[in-house]
Symmetry: C2
Subunit: 326 residues, 2 copies
């Protein structure tokens, strides 16, 4: 059994036996439900590995690992309400399966339970964990608000977009890695390097998601191709295309026509916009940006003074998540 699988099993066991509360059931059943839908558990597993970089017995990191996963799933429940999303991991979202009020409130109690779990960590470093977790949790909310703002905002710049995904998704991976390092006994300097590693890996992952939405083989990706295009979602690809199309008046007009059209064949729109993307080579820009952040991440990891074998393991894990694209 390789180590990553071992950590995944350790965490899955902790999740499976975790009790959040039982009464009222309307409050606690949605928590069991969303936590059992699965997912890659990337954040908690990275947290455990980050701990292992400095201390092989990672059990002390389980409360923090549970905390980040509970927090992440809290954000999914509330984001799904805001986005009016019917499905999550191919199952009904909480607000669809129950209702919006229950989704708001069980999300709230999950945020409390995330803190409660984190507070089970050793008092000797609890303050340090809370510092990074508090800051990160607020940033994730800020990122979600920027994301919603972008829906109606013109002239979103690439820089603003990178800042938004940094807040909305990347800092939580950074926070997970930093917390693991702290629990393992790392100094603030080493822990901060892991934070930067996680943050830039997180940015790279989101850029990859943007690319995969358009360019993935459908079966591999597991969701409908072109969802972002249909929704006019301001991804890196679209923002770059808008920027580059300024020098190509015909493409600019065509793109604007699709962005403003209300009655269209979805497949036709996806194909047409993809063709514009291809024409402007935005996929290559996106891959370069992705690689740029992934390289920064790896440089931070290299600087970490810790067990080389575990640094390799961490790199293997992130590499394995970076190669989903064909």
């Amino acid at each position: 059994l390789d180590k990553i699988t071992q950590y995944r099993q350790l965490f899955d066991e902790a999740i499976k036996t975790k009790k959040y509360g039982h009464s009222p059931k309307e409050l606690y059943q949605p928590i069991q439900y969303i936590m059992s839908l699965g997912g890659k558990r990337m954040r908690p597993i990275c947290l455990l590995i980050a701990c292992d970089l400095f201390e092989s017995d990672v059990k002390a990191a389980l409360p923090a690992a549970l905390a980040v996963e509970i927090f992440h799933n809290f954000t999914l429940i509330h984001d799904d309400i805001m986005d009016k999303a019917p499905l999550r991991r191919n199952k009904l979202t909480v607000h669809e399966k129950w209702n919006e009020n229950i989704a708001i409130l069980s999300g709230d109690v999950m945020l409390v339970k995330a803190y409660n779990e984190l507070c089970q960590s050793n008092a000797s470093y609890l303050s340090r964990l809370l510092n990074v977790f508090n800051e990160t949790a607020a940033q994730v909310c800020e990122g979600q608000q920027f994301d919603m703002n972008f829906e109606t905002q013109n002239n979103v710049s690439i820089n603003q977009y990178i800042e938004m995904i940094t807040l909305k998704t990347a800092v939580l991976l950074g926070c997970s890695l930093k917390m693991g390092a702290i629990i393992g006994g790392a100094t603030e300097t080493e822990a901060e390097k892991l934070y930067s590693f996680g943050k830039h890996v997180g940015i790279a992952f989101q850029l990859q998601d943007d690319i995969l939405d358009v360019y993935a083989e459908t079966e591999k990706f597991g969701k409908q191709r072109g969802g972002d295009i249909i929704a006019n979602k301001k991804t890196y690809l679209l923002l770059k295309a808008i920027e580059l199309a300024n020098d190509h008046v015909d493409l600019k007009n065509e793109l604007n026509t699709w962005l403003n059209s209300e009655n269209y064949n979805p497949e036709e729109k996806v194909n047409a916009v993809t063709a514009i993307y291809n024409n402007l080579e935005v996929k290559e820009y996106a891959k370069n940006e992705m690689q740029y952040h992934y390289n920064i991440a790896l440089n931070h990891l290299k600087e970490v003074k810790a067990k080389d074998s575990i640094k390799m393991l961490l790199m293997e894990l992130t590499d394995s998540l970076m190669v989903r694209e064909s």
Copy 2:
């Protein structure tokens, strides 16, 4: 200047100068807005006084005092969404002034900021504060869910109702007092007595609110008389009336008619149901229950080993809040 006024000013100053964040403004303006709507600030002021019972320099208690007030206002924002309430303290609710998504998300970030504020407390007792705060925050969510469940639930018992208001409102006052005591240096035993004092005062306050909704002089109370009656809200008064009406078939039928009628003159319904309450003397039952909990509270306070002058002060404050009724 009396001491309560002094503490109120100390806290108001802290609230006024508090910055929660600035960008994105859609996230942070609602926080400034709701925190500036005022209110009695009962929880934070009780927290400061509870600290003063054991330690006269209460500045160390300000972060925790801010935390409970921020937490309380977070619950107001989310409760108002769930209740579809248009007004709060005679001003537009956050979801009406902005929108539901912003209300969900700025509420979320307030919960994070409440924890962030609490974490500014001294590390020597931070774990103890977090223990009681984590438990209380979850209970408040549970109470809100029970309250929503009661809307469609038949046969809600008086005991279930007391349990619901205990969770939804009373434990936060208990938590505030306990946290103040802990910060003041109280032992767990003394802090727990203050928790019980606060919890039972909180129950008494809610029962008083139930009574005032029906029996207050409108100008004093500041909101429309009979709101609970119009909404068929299952208050102590209504639940007691339903219980007692079992022995009075005519009143039972009349009450049921009003509870089930959809087209009615609001004033007529309020007057008719109030007459039924008077007939069954439910106000007296409610006042007895209220006094019962207030007496338990005072007995707990008497047992606290602390400065008598400050115990008197705490009693004066709660007394002054108990006599709003005519």
